[in-house]
């Protein structure tokens, strides 16, 4: 309600040009980053290899993908950990 009032009086809400520009940016990052499922799978495997050198991770429930937050796009990986490896060396 307040937002729409501010919009009406040209307050600090975004112009439709700014909205268009920001949406364009986000959609292009997505489009350009979109990679084939095979490549995504390879990336997933490599990330897992690196991380499992240090931690005992739950391979099956790992989740990786692109996510949009506000005006930015990020590669987001969710990798549940079961246990630290070498607890003697790496506890901090």
């Amino acid at each position: 309600m307040f937002d729409s009032l501010f919009g009406l009086f040209g307050g600090k809400s975004k112009s439709s040009h700014e909205i268009a520009r920001d949406r364009l940016k986000v959609v292009l990052v997505h489009d350009r980053a979109s990679i084939s499922p095979e490549v995504m799978e390879r990336m997933r495997e490599e990330i897992l290899q690196v991380i499992s050198k240090y931690m005992d991770v739950d391979r099956k429930s790992m989740d990786i993908g692109l996510e949009t937050q506000d005006d930015a796009v990020a590669v987001v990986a969710n990798i549940p950990i079961r246990n630290y490896k070498h607890p003697g060396n790496r506890r901090n």
Partner: protein, 261 residues
Amino acid sequence: MSEVIVVTSGKGGVGKTTTTANIGMGLAARGKKVVLVDTDTGLRNLDLLLGLERRIVYTLVDVIQQRVGYRQALVRHKKYENLYLLATSQIADKTAITPSQMAELVKNMRDDFDYILIDCPAGIEQGFQTAVVGADWALVITMPEVAAVRDADKIIGKLLADEKKVKLVVNRIRPEIVARGDMLTMEDIDDTLGVERIGHIPDDATVIDAANIGVPVVENENSQAGKAYRNLVGRIMGESIPFMEFSGPSFFDRLKALFGR
């Protein structure tokens, strides 16, 4: 030495055929020998925009299937005798011509013309591949809208991967909406696409009149769009021409913007 340019866009209806017709006629008016090739098989329109629809006997498909030589299929413009059209079939579909057949044809036509302009169908399927394959560079047409710029970006990615040079034309700009701050600007588009822009064309009712009568707007001395197309033609010929400023919104437009919402 001929130059082969494909006019393409990704998204449909943004002005590929209109631009092909105007550049073609503009180059012819400047004394160049030009052929326009319609590759939108099944949905041909270039003949209409040039006022040549009643003179087509043979088509691109007849040439590809070797029923006639390409010279026999060319239709010569009445006013500009150095302007030719190679229309396509309205009955066949896009699978009638393969990219390698098209490449071969374009190669053979090079000796006869200064410019070969290829009007590409919408989309990124076989029709696109066929249109693009023989070209030296691509003129990508877009509009100041998110969807059109997004599709242009996809097409540009494909063209650059194929090592084609790309230049951009932004069509259907509405100066009064840009002035109001409600439209993607040329800077936004340049920043996101990152390719050289060599034309911008206003949205203009004279373009529609021109399509109705079959005489491209580039011939209209009193039209803003006509002037923008003449400038584009000059730039394609290598001239450096400053970009025109469109007259901003009228007082009436501003009043409407103020009270109309």
